[in-house]
Amino acid sequence: MAKALEGYWNDLRDTKVWRSVFRSGSGSSTLHRSLAVQQNVFLHLASVKMRRRSLAFSVTWYLGTLTFATFLILTVSGILLMLYYHPSVPQAYADMKDLQFVVSAGVFLRNLHRWSAHAMVFLVFAHMFKVFYRGAYRPPREFNWVIGVILLLVTLFLSYTGYLLPWDQLAFWAITVGSNIMSAVPIMGAKLRFLMLGGNTVNANALLRFYVLHCVILPLTAVLFIGIHFWRIRKDGGLYSSKSDAGQGETTEAAING
């Protein structure tokens, strides 16, 4: 049975259509596996080979991957929430309440978005601590640490801009306080606050600007730097692992079965 299935699988991978999409074709030699990774637009960011011990749970606790997973959840649930949310003063609060009480599965999506956002901030910090205490930020990975700091800031700004969108008292005063912190920037603080809010008070312009930042500008920035962050892992010699890490020796394995 299993053998027959494997036969069908290999036949499928040798068809003209399949090979036009995945050029490596059937077979499981190291070359095939390498090509499968190299020639895939998503997988080519990762190394063709990696140390088995660098994939052990204890090495990274998979914190970076988990952070990225929350980012994907936030993207999908956020896009769905956008279908019912109007970023305008008369409607924003009511739309948020509608999502909770009127829209089917709305309360699930809103809570999923909210809790994933909290989880992402927590995981970003956990990932940073893990990288720091293992010394994985040291050369040649020092630039990827800098990219990570940018991603931390983007995450925090995403959190902050999303905080205003429910347009309740908590949101209003949090952004009032936060934007006044911004005006403490020397010389141009008041100007920066004015540009960020699009006015002197937290009002319609501020809501719209935060919405655009939250839904377009910051997510695109995050995707850009996440791409660089992942690509740099390969360029900087793969995931950091030291000799003392638990694992299965020095053997290398093709990461993805092609």
Binding site: W173, V177, N180, I181, G199, T201
Partner: protein
């Protein structure tokens, strides 16, 4: 680079100080990109600064001055100001905390102005008595209109020696 220059000199008889055609075009190109970037920065700044704001007017009408009894502090939560009737006359204090912009509240039993956000406290002169606020509550310009109403301009700060006499 030096070789190119010497070559140019040999072929065209130019002096060493002359720039090559390529160099001048590169400089011209980079210069125009720089000018375009400056223009885009100015354009972007202008675009992001709204020219018309649909915000409340800084001048608010507080009603007739005799609303405020002598030796009292009256909170106007809509205008976000306090009207204090002192021995010298009336003056207005901003109710917006100088720490991070929360709306403070007058506590009549304690005789102080207190901020709910981070615990700043002020007396009826606006002077800070406790908490993280970096500055006293500003006094705002008040005057009586031709119709006899007390007006406050929340965008203009006045000095502590200005009062509206009643």
């Amino acid at each position: 680079m030096k070789e190119e220059e010497t070559q140019g000199q040999n072929e065209t008889g130019q002096t060493r100080d002359d720039v090559t055609r390529r160099d001048s075009f590169v400089k011209l190109g980079l210069g125009s990109v720089a000018v375009a970037c400056c223009g885009a920065a100015v354009f972007g700044y202008e675009f992001l600064s709204p020219n018309v704001l649909y915000e409340a007017s800084p001048i608010a009408n507080l009603g007739k001055p005799d609303r405020f009894p002598p030796d009292s502090v009256t909170s106007d939560p809509v205008a976000e100001v306090y009207i204090v009737h002192a021995a010298e006359g009336l003056y207005a204090l901003s109710a917006i905390c100088t720490h991070l912009g929360c709306i403070t509240a007058w506590k009549p039993d304690l005789g102080i102005i207190a901020c709910p956000c981070h615990g700043s406290k002020f007396n009826r002169l606006g002077t800070r008595i406790d908490g993280p606020a970096p500055r006293p509550l500003p006094r705002l310009k008040v005057w009586v209109s031709d119709e006899g109403d007390l007006l406050v301009d929340r965008s203009t700060i006045s000095t502590p020696d200005q009062f509206v006499r009643t």
